[in-house]
């Protein structure tokens, strides 16, 4: 689809906006609807638009599938790390209020952390699913 100039220009303008919106959904999730799941999908949508326009090879040059796989595992591990961090600081598993001196700040910090983990996982998983579907060729 590289030859459609309107599509190319418009989506070049749109992709950064989509990404910023994903980050907004991610980090504003405590105040407005949203969170890791939604943000991850929206973030991947930007990459999918890029792939549809510039081809799979260009997209995989930007984010190699291996990087997506590693990030997917990293997100889950980040989540678990927050759980263990609160465990070792004297609380229960995933009891975030021990992370920071102030209870509320600790809770908020923990929530942001695990939402980030979920977001990274979802984005990376969605991207690698898309890669593995799009990378196959018709026999």
């Amino acid at each position: 689809m590289n030859q459609y100039i309107v599509l190319r220009v418009v989506s070049k303008l749109m992709i950064p906006v989509i990404m910023i919106f994903a980050l907004y959904v991610q980090f504003h999730g405590e105040y407005s609807p949203g969170g890791g799941f939604q943000a991850g999908i929206v973030f991947t949508a930007a990459f999918i638009v890029y792939t549809l326009l510039f081809g799979l090879e260009a997209a995989q040059k930007a984010v190699p599938p291996v990087a997506a796989h590693i990030l997917a595992a990293f997100g889950v591990l980040l989540f678990i790390a927050f759980g263990y961090a609160s465990l070792f600081l004297g609380g229960n598993f995933l009891e975030y209020k021990v992370l920071l001196p102030n209870d509320q700040a600790g809770e908020t910090f923990g929530i942001i952390g695990i939402e980030l983990g979920v977001g990274i996982t979802v984005a990376a998983v969605a991207l690698s699913l898309f890669y593995s579907f799009a990378g196959r060729e018709r026999r």
């Binding site: 999918i48 081809g55 598993f93």
Partner: protein, 180 residues
């Protein structure tokens, strides 16, 4: 409802995919009307966005037309479906009225969540605090499930890495083999 029937009846899989997306958007609108904005956002993003893309990718790999089998209309299936549907409808009669403040769901844990989570957690979006704190291990499980699903798909379908194939030289450009 109309869209659902259309999804079943239409044989062109491309149209079915589009109808699925429309269905997801309609459901998302329904969720917004029920004040479940978080769920609506998820439904719109996953159902109307990612799912449609993945189904389009599948269609581009397989075929565009559904194979029409000569279906034998089974009476038994109709009976089973009717009985199940009747039982479900009968069960809904026992449910509390929509929005009833005395409903069991609203008198057990909800008051504690709604009244104490703003002071206990300190963030305004109650959905996030329930999701991440009170139900933290649930959410961890969901993340692990998503990861496991990805591992399964990757094992079955491969990673989709684009390799430089030798037979691509006779095509007219690097983009020629791409899905569009």
């Amino acid at each position: 409802m109309v869209v659902g029937i259309a999804i079943v009846r239409v044989r062109n899989l491309l149209a079915v995919t589009m109808l699925t997306g429309i269905y997801s958007l309609l459901v998302a609108i329904l969720f917004v009307l029920l004040d479940a904005v978080d769920v609506a956002l998820t439904e719109a993003a996953v159902g109307a966005g990612l799912l449609v893309i993945l189904m389009l990718a599948t269609i581009s790999l397989t075929t565009r037309k559904e194979k029409v089998h000569a279906t034998r209309q089974s009476i038994m299936a109709l009976v089973v479906v009717s009985v199940t549907g009747a039982a479900l409808i009968y069960a809904t009669l026992d449910m509390p009225r929509f929005g009833d403040p005395e409903a069991p769901a609203h008198v057990h844990l909800s008051p504690r969540f709604t009244q104490e989570s703003p002071t206990e957690i300190g963030i305004p979006n109650m959905v996030t605090s329930v999701l991440a704190t009170y139900r933290g291990i649930d959410t961890l499980g969901e993340a692990v499930v998503i990861y496991a699903a990805a591992v399964g798909v990757l094992l079955v379908l491969g990673t989709g890495t684009v390799r430089r194939r030798r037979n691509r030289k006779d095509e007219d450009g690097p983009e020629a083999g791409e899905k569009s």
